[in-house]
């Protein structure tokens, strides 16, 4: 928008500003909601932003119903299948929450898969297992957090480019995981850990509960706390953040630590599902997590992104996987579809975002 337009729209804007009492922002929102169709109201903003992904999800389910009508006619199967999809999304979903923070903060973490492998392997060594489930959980979380901290220190204070630092960590952490496990699959003997994957809380699988909890915490952290605000500021304009007195280095460090911690949680979830851990686990998770964040509307250059979108992205991927497996199709072909979806989602978003911002600015001008 040019300055001319800005001043042109300013005149009516000013009139309402002086006419309305303090607290006019709320009236503003209500008025808009009452006078206009629901999709234009502020309340539907979230839904609207993720409309594309929700559409894709619905389409995938419809394809499932069309291809396997007899399965979908069974309500119990549908419920169980939904849980299967969510359980498959759980570990990668938790990691994606951490990844979304890192990307919004202007970075990237290529080492998440490797951190998961290292945390999983470390948590299942004979020595660790001798401390019981508590020791395993503690070890998994601390290893994840610790490796994340190392990433953070290298990037913040070592001034390494995030891509390089985490690429190095990706290679090194997997190497260490192979070293520790002696390239063997380490079986978990902890009943607690092994049962976690099949346990339910109020009828909902515990892993899904963990995913929802991490997602909810992530949402609150991003949208309601100073930590989240700093993340957006650092990723959106690092110089502006610095000159506003934000400790950019310390914050960047914490972002990678957060991502590492999420990897620790994810590693324990995967270990529970497989009742074992090995150096090759969580292979290519970094790419899945980045892809999910990106199709969820997170800007790769930082400064913008949503947790809800990223988790929807994860769900889209795991629904595709499920769709292929219930139709007995190969995993090779689903990778091609995944690739196509990534491209399509980003193309649609770019187009839609541009159109939307233009539409909104015009719309708001009229409304004001």
């Amino acid at each position: 928008m040019t300055a001319d337009e800005a001043t042109a729209t300013a005149v009516p804007g000013e009139a309402t500003a002086t006419a309305a009492a303090p607290g006019q922002t709320k009236q503003h929102g209500h008025g808009a909601g009452a006078n206009q169709s629901w999709w234009r109201s502020d309340a539907s903003d979230y839904a609207r932003r993720n409309l594309g992904l929700i559409g894709v999800l619905v389409a995938l389910v419809v394809i499932g119903i069309i291809t396997q009508p007899q399965l979908y006619s069974d309500a119990t199967w549908v419920k169980n299948n939904t849980f299967t999809i969510l359980q498959q999304a759980s570990a990668i979903g938790v990691v994606t929450v951490g990844m979304t923070f890192v990307i919004i903060g202007g970075g990237i973490d290529l080492s998440v898969g490797a951190i998961m492998a290292l945390a999983g392997v470390w948590a299942t060594t004979l020595a660790t297992q001798s401390y019981g489930a508590g020791g395993m959980i503690f070890t998994g979380l601390v290893v994840g957090l610790g490796v994340g901290l190392v990433n953070g220190v290298l990037i913040s204070y070592g001034r390494l480019v995030p891509f390089i630092a985490t690429l190095a960590m990706m290679v090194a952490a997997r190497g260490l995981a192979a070293e520790i496990s002696n390239k063997q699959t380490q079986v978990s003997t902890s009943q607690f850990i092994n049962d976690l994957a099949s346990a339910k809380l109020l009828g909902i699988p515990v892993l899904v509960v963990i995913l929802v909890a991490v997602g909810a915490l992530g949402w609150v952290l991003l949208n309601r706390t100073t930590f989240g605000r700093r993340t957006v500021a650092v990723g959106g304009n690092v110089e502006a953040a610095r000159l506003a007195g934000i400790n950019v280095k310390a914050h960047t460090l914490m972002l990678y630590a957060l991502s590492g911690l999420c990897c620790g949680i994810g590693a324990l979830m995967l270990t529970s599902q497989a009742t074992s851990a090995q150096a090759a686990m969580a292979n290519m998770y970094e790419l899945d997590a980045i892809a999910a964040a990106i199709i969820g509307g997170t800007l790769l250059s930082g400064g913008r992104g949503t947790i809800v979108g990223a988790l929807l992205g994860v769900l889209v991927f795991s629904t595709i996987t499920n769709l292929f497996s219930i139709n007995g199709l190969s995993t090779e072909s689903q990778n091609m579809i995944k690739g196509a979806i990534i491209v399509a989602a980003v193309l649609i978003q770019q187009f839609r975002f541009n159109a939307l911002t233009q539409f909104l600015s015009r719309n708001k001008a009229i409304r004001a």
């Binding site: 800005a6 804007g13 706390t225 100073t226 502006a240 000159l243 506003a244 007195g245 913008r304």
Partner: protein
């Protein structure tokens, strides 16, 4: 004026007058939203002459260059190039017809070789392959013409010093067989002896019939290398084709000053001698940027720093703010020494900075206004780590009212605001919290006239409330109109200090341009 100068002037006129005019601009106008950047420019450049362009910051020199270089197209008026009326669609088109521009920030690709940079975009090719040997050979020839045969064409540009890079830029211009080379403050990046070399090259170029438009603030350079001078002020040509060597400096300066647009400055209240000292800077030094700078700012006082781009002013402000680490010297706020190189410490001590580059240094363009206003204070408004959006919006609304922000809706993205209103957001940020000292770096750059007056009033009001202000501006009238006390900086040093009311624009410009007045008087 003595007889001898009259004679030499006459000889000089005759010397250039019989050469053909290559470039003629008539009544060129270019407007941007809210700003009339060019408002009737006349310019005539002859083959083989060095035509100097003089004018203050904001006079329209940059816009004029961009029109000639094909970056902007004029709204009206004509550009005649080699006898034909032209309108360049893009920079490549201008380049092709023989107009080359050497920008102040040299636009070279650091990781390509000298030859690759010289021929960037028009490499000699055969079957789609670059003819590297031929490219190197021609580049060597061109470098030879420029008197720098010693630069190897295959050397990476990154490894060259600033002067060498400038030679590469000129080689690029010559690779296009340029007939006109525009140089935007070429001496700003050069050391003193390198400037001599630059002049030697310019003389060789003009001897080959190439015309040069030379932009510089340094009067002594214009005297040495220039043939004729055209002066711009507020986007208009105020004097054309003055002889460069003999026109008295006072005349040139007076053509540059005296605004047609009157800025409205708020009344300056009498200085309060009893006001407590807020900021004391002693012996602050950063090598290559500024040296041994000492200054004070009292509560409620506006101190202005006048100086050219590159005089170290912005670096000084950023160092006081802790965004750069001082190599020597101390910064004290209300008696307490600040930790060097810590923005956090400066902010906690009550210092705020509105940096020079609004968009790249101060704003989150896609974020709402209120979040930009609270960028430095949202942590303080928060409750145990949870942001308090309601309070943030309320505070932002209060600031928006105080600053008369338009549009008034603080939920809008900052991107949608005009330059002046964006600047209000940046200044407004520091009105929240307990800012005692405000550092303003070019607060009205890119701001239209109306918003300027409002910003001036805001700055005055702040001072009246006891906030100390340290203001940097390239626009001398702005410094003089606002500041209680003025410091003049030149090449990293404070060379003069006086109350704002005791200085006038010409004196300051003179100091900034290093005693050119005295030189002019001698001529």
């Amino acid at each position: 004026m003595t007889d001898s100068t009259t004679v030499s002037r006459g000889a000089q006129m005759a010397d250039t007058d019989d050469r053909p005019v290559v470039l003629r601009l008539t009544d060129v106008v270019k407007t941007f939203p809210g700003v009339r950047a060019l408002d009737g420019v006349q310019l005539e450049v002859r083959a083989g002459e060095v035509h100097c362009l003089l004018g203050q910051n904001g006079a329209g020199k940059s816009t004029l260059i961009k029109v000639l270089a094909g970056v902007h197209r004029p709204d009206s008026g004509t550009v005649e190039w080699l006898g034909e009326e032209v309108s360049f669609a893009n920079p490549q088109a201008a380049m092709k017809t023989g107009i080359a521009t050497i920008y102040q920030e040299l636009d070279l690709v650091e990781d390509l070789s000298v030859a690759e940079n010289a021929f960037l975009g028009h490499e000699p090719r055969r079957f789609g392959f670059v003819r590297r040997a031929q490219m190197a050979r021609v580049t060597r020839e061109i470098l030879g013409r420029l008197g720098h045969a010693e630069i190897p064409p295959r050397r990476l540009v990154r490894s060259l010093p600033a002067a060498g890079k400038q030679i590469v830029s000129m080689a690029r211009a010559l690779s296009h067989e340029a007939k006109l080379i525009i140089m935007d403050e070429p001496s700003a990046v050069l050391a003193h002896d390198e400037v001599e070399n630059l002049f030697r090259i310019i003389r060789e170029l003009t001897a080959q019939g190439i015309a040069v438009i030379y932009i510089s603030h340094r009067m002594e350079e214009i005297r040495e290398i220039g043939d004729r001078v055209t002066v711009l002020k507020d986007g208009r040509t105020t004097a054309a084709n003055l002889p460069a060597r003999t026109t008295p400096t006072r005349e040139l300066v007076s053509r540059m000053t005296g605004r047609t647009i009157e800025y409205v400055f708020p009344d300056r209240p009498p200085a309060d001698a009893s006001a407590e000292e807020l900021l004391r800077v002693e012996g602050l030094t950063r090598h290559g940027e500024f040296a041994d700078v000492s200054l004070t700012v009292a509560a409620g006082e506006i101190v202005g720093i006048a100086g050219l781009v590159g005089s170290g002013r912005s670096e000084l402000l950023e160092t006081i703010f802790g965004a750069r680490r001082a190599e020597a010297g101390t910064v004290r706020v209300a008696g307490r020494t600040l930790r060097a190189g810590s923005v956090g410490a400066a902010v906690r001590a009550g210092i705020g900075l509105a940096p020079e580059e609004r968009k790249s240094q101060a704003l989150l363009l896609g974020e709402p206004i209120y979040r930009n206003v609270t960028l430095a204070t949202f942590s303080r408004l928060a409750r145990v780590g949870f942001t308090n959006a309601e309070r943030e919006v309320a505070e932002a609304n209060r600031i928006a009212d105080t600053l008369e922000l338009r549009p008034r809706d603080v939920h809008r993205a900052v991107r949608q605001l005009s330059g002046g209103n964006q600047q209000k957001v940046v200044v407004g940020r520091w009105l929240l919290g307990e800012t005692r000292l405000l550092l303003l770096d070019e607060p009205t750059r890119g701001v239209d006239v109306g918003a300027r007056a409002e910003l001036y009033q805001v700055i005055r009001d702040l001072a009246a409330q006891g906030v100390g202000v340290l203001l940097v501006s390239s626009e001398v009238p702005e410094v003089l109109g606002l500041a209680d006390r003025v410091l003049v900086m030149r090449e990293g040093r404070v060379i003069h200090e006086a109350p704002g009311s005791e200085l006038d624009e010409e004196t300051v410009l003179d100091l900034v341009m290093a005693g050119a007045l005295m030189e002019g008087a001698a001529a």
